[in-house]
């Protein structure tokens, strides 16, 4: 080891002792203390922190649920009912966990919307985006596995429908499905392995989240104006400024999720899942969790089994290549007068797909799903590359500080382009 290595010096000798042996103190100071955040970041930038907090909450509540849960087809449903009725605060653990999953998706969807609208996926943060999509995929897999565990009617038939998607693959499909289930249909072998995988995947997510955060810290966070930090004037330290801001967001989130957990814990639950699983009776409408409904709508919009499955998975896989489909160098949609509206249209369309995904696939709903499907893929394959090519973006501010200088100038009635802003003068002094 290099004896000339520079060791950070802290006031506290205990920290120094640790730092000399494992430079973890300086790492945390650099990544979570002095880490520069663009000072124009709004509350959209708190959703990464909220997602992390929710992930930890899900892992903790899940571990405590697992202490009382039995992954056997004869006992799973009853053990969940026992958690609800007899285990001390079991009802709270379960409602935190079930509603926490829904809120986890709400937060992550907002986080993704933020990344798309403000162009966070563009150079140099493409790998960061890819890791994020990967986390999203893992989340969907984990939530699906977890939804099977209570062994109600929706659990059973949801698992049946989703695992049957694999049987659409030519030649190997049936064999693959049987291998995944460990039986010819969803049964005890399936429940057992789903429980094991549902327990382990969140820790995999946690690991990928670590990479996701490490990757964003390399080039720093994006911001609503989508321009880089140029001077110290453009940023504030993560501690205390952003930590405090994230804490405010966390409090608001806590109020929202508590309202649901305590006053409407079954708002987002399906009534049929309080009926024990019955392999001989399919519920009239198999409804996916609302947060997976847009993809379910795409599956049902296609009148062909393999085609529907391919497009459904394609709808997620397409996200991986978004950084290369978008040819515009301007990150933030605030400066993209045309693409901005297509982007908003994409969000509305996704919402509409989710809505019809929860309703029967017939008549008008089917038509909406098909139009939505066309827009979804058209947005990625046609609109995104094409608009980036023809659009003339509006003028970007010179620096993040300049944004504020302009705002101040406009507010006091000035704002002529010839007048140098105070911030710009300050920059030159540095």
């Amino acid at each position: 080891m290099d004896k000339n290595r520079k060791v950070h010096q802290f006031k506290n000798p205990v920290l120094n002792w640790i730092e000399f042996r494992l430079p973890i103190i300086s790492y945390f100071k650099k990544e979570y203390g002095d880490y520069p955040m663009p000072k124009n970041c709004n509350y959209f930038w708190s959703f990464g922190a909220l997602a992390t907090i929710t992930l930890v909450t899900m892992i903790v509540s899940g571990i405590f649920l697992a202490m009382n849960y039995t992954p056997h087809t004869d006992m799973a449903f009853d053990s969940v009912e026992r958690i609800m009725r007899d285990v001390n605060y079991g009802w709270l653990m379960r409602y935190i966990h079930s509603n926490g999953a829904a809120f986890f998706f709400i937060i992550v969807y907002i986080h993704i919307v933020r990344a798309m609208y403000f162009g966070s996926y563009k150079y140099p943060r493409e790998l960061n985006w890819i890791l994020g999509v990967f986390i999203f995929l893992l989340m969907m897999a984990t939530s699906f596995l977890g939804y099977t565990l209570p062994w109600g009617q929706m659990s059973y038939w949801g698992a049946t429908v989703i695992t049957n998607l694999f049987s659409a693959i030519p030649f190997i499909g049936e064999g693959l499905k049987t291998w995944l289930l460990g039986d010819y249909n969803v049964g005890n072998a399936t429940l057992n392995r789903f429980f094991a995988l549902h327990y382990v995947l969140p820790f995999v997510i946690f690991g990928v989240v670590g990479l996701h955060v490490a990757a964003v810290h390399v080039h720093g966070s994006n911001n609503p104006d989508g321009i880089d930090i140029k001077t110290n004037n453009d940023s504030v330290n993560f501690f205390p400024y952003m930590l405090i801001k994230d804490t405010v967001a966390m409090c608001a989130f806590g109020v929202a999720i508590s309202a649901v957990i305590f006053f409407g814990p079954n708002l987002m639950a399906e009534v049929d899942n309080y009926i024990p699983a019955d392999p001989l009776v399919t519920p009239a409408h198999i409804v996916p969790n609302w947060y997976l409904a847009p993809f379910y709508a795409i599956l049902r919009a296609v009148p062909d089994k393999l085609g529907g499955v391919l497009l459904m998975f394609g709808a997620i896989v397409i996200l991986f290549v978004l950084p290369w489909l978008d040819r515009s160098k301007v990150r933030s949609c605030n400066y993209r007068p045309i693409y901005k509206w297509f982007m908003m249209g994409f969000f509305v369309n996704f919402f509409a797909l989710g809505y019809v995904g929860m309703l029967p696939a017939e008549g008008l709903y089917l038509l909406i799903a098909r139009v939505g499907l066309l827009y979804y893929f058209g947005f990625f394959f046609i609109i995104t590359p094409f608009v980036g090519w023809i659009e003339k973006p509006s003028k970007l501010p010179l620096s993040i500080s300049d944004v504020y200088a302009k705002n101040i100038a406009t507010n006091i009635g000035g704002g002529e382009k010839g007048i140098p802003s105070p911030a710009m003068q300050k920059d030159t002094n540095l």
């Binding site: 249909n185 001989l280 009776v281 198999i286």
Partner: protein, 175 residues
């Protein structure tokens, strides 16, 4: 040049070591993958004998075989005629009614929709039977006819016919 044979020997050793390591790892992974396939007791799940003497014409019962629902239907004359009238070549999964039954009044089907595995409706009198008066899958709207053949909707295949034999006039052995 004198070094060359020595390098070759080292290259060979390195390559063979890495290869052996890779093969060993693959061999180590195999049992884990294989353990996820259906276990012996699952494979051995046996056959089921069903007493069909109480089934009236037009009536259909559901029994459980290897964890799956099996429909046994005693078809009416009209239903048999409707099934026979269809040209097999017009169907998505072409099959004559005669190839799907042993005795034409008795139709035995695995009651699992070939689309995504739901149990189609049509067993009860009050159920929706679809446009072809057979079975209708409520999940994604597949219609099956009185021979259990797919006629409309997303399912790619006809309802499966399980292996079965008539032990006598009143008993069917499924499996």
């Amino acid at each position: 040049m004198a070094k060359k044979p020595k390098n070759k020997r080292r290259d060979f050793l390195q390559l063979s070591t890495v290869t052996l390591g890779a093969v060993g790892t693959a061999a180590f992974i195999w049992p884990f993958l294989k353990s996820m396939s259906p276990a012996e007791d699952t494979l051995a799940a046996g056959s089921t004998e069903v007493d069909i003497s109480a089934i009236e014409e037009g009536q259909s019962i559901t029994i459980k075989w290897r964890g799956k629902p099996v429909f046994i239907k005693k078809r009416t004359k009209d239903e048999i005629d409707a099934a026979k009238m269809v040209q097999a070549s017009d169907l998505r999964d072409p099959q004559d009614d005669a190839d799907r039954v042993q005795k034409e009044e008795w139709l035995v089907l695995v009651g699992v929709c070939t689309h995504l595995g739901c149990v189609p409706l049509g067993q009860k009198v009050s159920d929706m039977k679809g446009e072809y008066d057979g079975w209708y899958c409520p999940c994604h709207g597949s219609h099956y006819d009185t021979s259990g053949r797919i006629r409309k909707g997303p399912a790619p295949k006809n309802l499966d016919v399980p292996p079965y034999t008539f032990l006598n006039d009143n008993t069917i052995k499924i499996g």
